[in-house]
């Protein structure tokens, strides 16, 4: 990140947060991010976030898993090494279903989990920029970027709007 600076402020209640986010957006300020200790319902809509594509990723992952899992077994039983097991046909399709299913779930879960981590920039060793340690406890923090071209005005404006909403600890943050 470059020198972009932000103003952070927090609220102690999710309802207050919702109200103020609405207010801030109405004032034409862009909100960089909102940090909350738990998922606040309806916040996405207020912030104008799109719905995540994770389900689609999961579907594709699952489909790949299903096809691979099934074909893997089918190939082994009919091409690689066909064996007569208890008189069952080589392509003993019902027998392939359980493993196919498990592969589907496994692939879907993996693809979604890693898509989630990658998309969110999370992962083993990823460093969080911690604005306030209480954010994961009971503080709901809004982060508003400062317009660097008009720094002081921007700061003033933002602080004013935030103070209107009853935000606490409004401060400039690097």
């Amino acid at each position: 990140m470059n020198n972009q600076q932000y103003i952070t402020a927090y609220y102690l209640d999710d309802d207050d947060l919702m109200k103020s986010v609405k207010h801030i957006r109405e004032k034409g300020l862009s909100i960089n991010d909102v940090l909350t200790p738990f998922p606040v319902h309806g916040l996405d809509k207020l912030l104008g976030h799109r719905r995540s594509y994770l389900p689609q990723v999961g579907f594709i992952g699952g489909a790949i898993g299903a096809i691979c899992g099934f074909y893997f077994q089918y190939w082994i039983f009919t091409e690689a090494y066909p064996l007569n097991f208890g008189g069952k046909p080589f392509a003993s399709i019902p027998s392939f279903i359980p493993v196919t299913f498990e592969c589907t779930v496994l692939f879907a879960a993996f693809s979604m989990f890693f898509a989630f981590l990658i998309r969110s920039g999370l992962g083993l060793g990823a460093q969080a920029k911690i604005h306030d340690e209480k954010v994961t406890d009971d503080r709901f923090m809004v982060i508003i970027p400062i317009d660097e071209s008009n720094r002081q005005d921007s700061i003033n404006h933002i602080e004013a709007v935030l103070n209107e909403t009853g935000a606490k600890e409004v401060k400039v943050n690097g």
Binding site: L83, N84, F85, G86, G87, K88, P89
Partner: protein
């Protein structure tokens, strides 16, 4: 079946030398099956075939080395020049003769890389006709018994043959000089050349008396025949000619005289092949449940003391029927009239035998057979069975003389009277009164241990021998391996002591060329000898000529003195079972682990008591009881006579080796002499509960079929009306068979096996044969108690009907090789699959031991290696091997064609796939079709009843295909649609009601 019989190694020494003079020829490619196989498998290394052979030679050489001395086994010398008859990896078969004084069998010895590994029946013999019994099958293991005497010993100190010979000769000379009696005590000798050796010995030492001693004798028959025919002999019985068989306690399928021969004969009249409508009717009178009794159509329960009365009554009725004067027969509750009438109807087509040693009883049986005109028809008096020539009175006198101190020396050859003579130490104490005690013994036993001189004899597989089992029926025994230890065969010892230096081999050859060759019609004595050695048998139509006519005077005399014996006491009956027999082979683990065909108990003998008596006395299975103070575990035996307790002989050996010692109790002490004969039953004074438990290892604990159609049966009448009688289910089930997927195709062969439940007598030969062929581990009593025996084939036995006198059915069960096998489906690692020849195959090295297949097998034929029984496991030092089967010595018996299985692996019947492959290759190399019946799995091979037929189901004309189409044919649990490749034929009983 075309089998190549090879002559012995020794015999070929001369030929080999000849071969060696010439430059060694490159072997012909088609002979070297294995090599070609390896090449086919693209072993494209730089090593030549010859190099490979050198390496391969190791295994052969190691065996050869082992056979000669006690050097480390693994040091080996490769064959640079291959002996002519040995192809690495190919087995040779040598004809030989098994006779241990008790059982006779003409056999082929399978020798693989210098080691005898398997005994098979010799089909050329008209006596045993390729059949074997359990003990014959197991005898190969005794060769490698660690309890064998390994070198001559004087007073327990090992010595050289020279020393011991000198000592003994000195002493013998001394005794002869002093005119002191020398006794040569042997079991029945049926070897003509040995008899000549003994005669030679007697000439050298004239005070020598030769006594033949049979622990379980036929002295009664000999005596009776002496009285009625003027000569003590045993005739030839012909069960195959008898439409009605009445046996009074003669267990002729299990232990009486010549069971293999009789089984062969008996089943001829029991088989209902190819639409045969008739079978013999078998009535069996006995007290305990014997193998034969359990096969009878009608089993009449009579205690031993009353059997004579039954015989007398039958005789009396027959006298009446044939219009002769009757006598005052003691009363009996048995409907003897019906028996007599049936016999009378079948004059000349009936056979009455008795297992009793009571001369009177046997004479009456002779009288009955005479009245029925059976002599000359079902009983041949002109051909004598030479087995069991021991006269009990001679032994009795000997002990008396020894006690009196009139016997100077005793040479005991392969006898064990200290163990098997009646009373606890009657013989042992008598023996102490002799000056010279020599033992010619094969392995550790009670008698030898009480002698100063132990001269170890060869195992029969290391020995030359001959036998005349019946008049004119000769057979030869030849060594299949050089003596493993410093042993010498008995004949040779006797020859040495006479001062002769002739090798017995020479002696034998001379005897044959001198005595038998002239009448043989052969032009060359050498040719005669090599031919007979190749065949193993030499049969002539000689007959005994000096038999007097039948005289009934003695019988008349005897019946006039019959008393109405009646006792309320409990009687004790002693019998031999099919495994341990008379006890000689007690140290053979295959036999010890062989479940009794009736009780399914192994590793012990026990007191079989009737359910009623047990209830009265409050005895349960495994309760220790005391019979005249002697503790013995009890087993409740359905069909046992109310007040008879049966105990098997042959157990309770005190000195026999690790396996056989202290297994069970010695029941010989209960046998007794009466009227000059040794009897195997007696009355007991008291029987009481000891209040302890003694767990008996039993391989089958549930005895009812629970009304399931497992063994299907019908009566002969029903069968005659409808060949599918008892098997109606089969057609019904077949018609309902629906499948959700098509059967796999078996384009080449589809192996199948048919088992005739009518023929199977339950003799267990197949079980040992299988163990021997397939290296089936022995697990010991403790593991059997935990139901972990490993047998690949078992004989299920079920009782039906009331427990007073139930009917018995048996069913050999091995892997059914189902085409829809529930076991194959579930193996996660594909260790068990179906071959394209219909075989359910196990890849042992792939198995990880989930036991899932075992659970899923409806037949429960899969066996799991719970411990390391074989030493094949990767982790050393945790072997469970109660029978010492992992000793290098005993491992020599392993069949190299069959992998030994590691701990944690499932194993099971493979249809002897190694035999299938071998025969297929043979046929391929010879560029011909594989013939039907050419392949015989070990069980089918061993079966004396020919109950098991193996072949190709894809071949319409094969015997097995035909049997499968028989209306009696069905599959076990066929309603499960497992599509087994094993079929059974319903059991048909020749009796009135179902």
């Amino acid at each position: 079946m075309e089998k190549q019989y090879y002559r012995s190694l020794d015999e070929l020494k001369v030929d080999r030398e000849k071969v060696n003079e010439k430059p060694v020829k490159e072997f012909e490619a088609e002979k070297d099956v294995l090599l070609d196989l390896m090449e086919e498998n693209n072993f494209n290394t730089s090593s030549s075939r010859r190099d490979f052979l050198k390496v391969f030679g190791f295994s052969i050489a190691s065996a050869a080395v082992l056979a000669s001395c006690e050097q480390p086994v693994r040091k080996a010398i490769p064959y640079l020049n291959r002996p002519e008859e040995i192809t690495p990896g190919k087995a040779n078969y040598y004809a030989s003769t098994y006779f241990d004084g008790n059982d006779y069998c003409s056999v082929l010895v399978k020798v693989r890389d210098g080691r005898p590994i398997k005994i098979e029946g010799n089909t050329l013999s008209s006596v045993t006709k390729g059949g074997t019994n359990a003990r014959t099958q197991a005898s190969v293991l005794s060769l490698y018994d660690n309890a064998r005497y390994k070198a001559p010993a004087i007073k327990g100190e090992e010595t050289t043959w020279k020393n011991i010979d000198q000592d003994i000769q000195n002493q013998l000379n001394q005794l002869t000089q002093n005119k002191e009696k020398i006794v040569l005590l042997t079991p029945t000798i049926i070897s003509p050349s040995t008899k000549a050796v003994i005669e030679q010995f007697q000439q050298k030492y004239p005070t020598t008396q030769h006594i033949q001693y049979d622990a379980v004798s036929a002295s009664g028959i000999l005596d009776a025949n002496k009285k009625t025919f003027g000569q003590a002999f045993i005739p030839s019985y012909h069960f195959e000619k008898a439409a009605t068989i009445v046996s009074f306690g003669a267990d002729f399928l299990g232990s009486w005289l010549s069971p293999v021969e009789y089984t062969k004969q008996y089943v001829q009249m029991r088989k209902l092949d190819e639409g045969e409508q008739k079978m013999s009717h078998h009535i069996h009178v006995e007290a305990g449940m014997s193998l034969t009794g359990s096969n009878a159509d009608k089993r009449i329960i009579v205690k031993n003391s009353r059997q004579k009365a039954v015989i007398a009554n039958v005789y009396n009725h027959l006298l009446a029927l044939s219009g002769q004067s009757t006598f005052n027969a003691p009363e009996t509750s048995v409907d003897t009239k019906a028996i007599a009438e049936e016999l009378y109807k079948n004059r000349g087509k009936s056979l009455v035998v008795s297992g009793s040693n009571d001369t009177d009883a046997q004479m009456m049986v002779n009288g009955i057979n005479q009245l029925l005109g059976n002599f000359g028809k079902t009983i041949d008096t002109s051909v004598h069975l030479k087995i069991k020539q021991g006269i009990d009175q001679e032994m009795e006198s000997l002990v008396q003389e020894m006690n009196e101190g009139t016997v100077g020396g005793v040479i005991m050859w392969n006898v064990n009277p200290v163990y098997d003579y009646p009373g606890t130490d009657a013989f042992s104490s008598a023996l102490k009164n002799t000056k010279l005690r020599v033992s010619l013994a094969e392995s550790k036993n009670e008698t030898a241990e009480e002698t100063e001189y132990i001269c170890p004899v060869n195992h029969y597989l290391e020995s030359w021998n001959d036998a005349e089992i019946k008049t004119g029926h000769y057979s030869l025994g030849q060594p299949a391996i050089r003596p493993i230890f410093s042993t010498r065969q008995g004949q040779e010892s006797l020859l040495r002591w006479t001062g002769s230096n002739t090798e017995y081999h020479e002696y034998l050859k001379n005897y044959w060329t001198g005595n038998l060759f002239p009448a043989s019609g052969y032009l060359s004595a050498d040719k005669f000898w090599t031919d007979k050695l190749h065949d193993g048998i030499y049969e002539t139509d000689q007959s005994e000529t000096n038999i007097n006519g039948f005289s009934s005077n003695a019988i008349v005399n005897a019946v006039s003195q019959l008393k109405n014996e009646s006792t309320k006491n409990i009687e004790l009956e002693l019998y031999q079972n099919v495994s341990v027999g008379n006890g000689t082979h007690a140290n053979n683990p295959w036999l010890q682990e062989l479940p009794d065909p009736v009780t399914k108990i192994c590793w012990d003998n026990y007191a079989a008591i009737s359910p009623k008596l047990a209830e009265e006395m409050g005895i349960e299975d495994n309760d220790l009881i005391r019979i005249d103070q002697k503790p013995i575990p009890a087993v409740i035996q359905p069909g046992q006579e109310y007040k008879t307790i049966s105990v098997a002989l042959g157990y309770g050996r005190q000195k026999a080796g690790t396996v056989g010692e202290k297994v069970g109790v010695n029941a010989y002490i209960f046998s007794r002499f009466a009227d000059g004969q040794r009897l195997t039953w007696s009355t007991v004074k008291e029987v009481n509960k000891a209040g302890e438990k003694y767990p008996l290892a039993r391989t089958q604990t549930h005895h009812s079929m629970e009304g399931r159609a497992i063994v299907r049966e019908a009566t002969l009448k029903e069968y005659q009306k409808n060949p599918a009688a008892g098997n109606e289910l089969h057609e019904k089930i077949e018609s309902h068979h629906k499948t959700l997927y098509d059967k796999h195709e078996f384009p080449g062969h589809h192996w199948g096996m048919a088992i005739d439940l009518n023929s199977c007598t339950g003799c267990n030969a197949c079980v040992v044969g299988c163990s021997s062929e397939n290296n089936v581990p022995v697990v010991g009593k403790k593991q059997v108690l935990m139901a972990r025996e490993m047998h690949w084939i078992r004989i299920d036995r079920y009782y039906q009907g009331d427990q007073e006198n139930p009917s018995v059915v048996r069913q050999p069960v091995m892997c059914q090789h189902c085409d829809n096998a529930p076991c194959e489906n579930v193996c996660p690692v594909a260790a068990t699959t179906h071959s394209n020849e219909g075989i359910n195959q196990m890849a042992y090295n792939r198995c990880i031991g989930t036991r899932y297949c075992n659970n899923n097998c409806p037949y429960k034929v899969r066996r799991f290696n719970f411990y390391d029984y074989t030493g094949a496991d990767a982790l050393p030092g945790n072997i469970v091997d109660p029978a010492e089967m992992t000793l290098d010595l005993k491992r020599m018996v392993l069949n190299p064609d069959v992998t030994i299985r590691a701990k944690g692996v499932i194993e099971k019947c493979s249809f002897c796939v190694q035999r299938i492959q071998e025969k297929k290759l043979d046929a391929k190399l010879e560029n011909r079709q594989l013939g039907d019946g050419e392949i015989k799995p070990a069980c089918a091979q061993a079966c004396p009843a020919d109950a098991i037929v193996f072949g190709d189901l894809n071949d319409e004309n094969s015997k097995v295909s035909k049997i499968f189409k028989d209306q009696r044919s069905y599959h076990l649990l066929e309603e499960l649609h497992t599509l087994p490749s094993v079929g059974y034929l319903t059991k048909i009983r020749n009796k009135e009601e179902a």
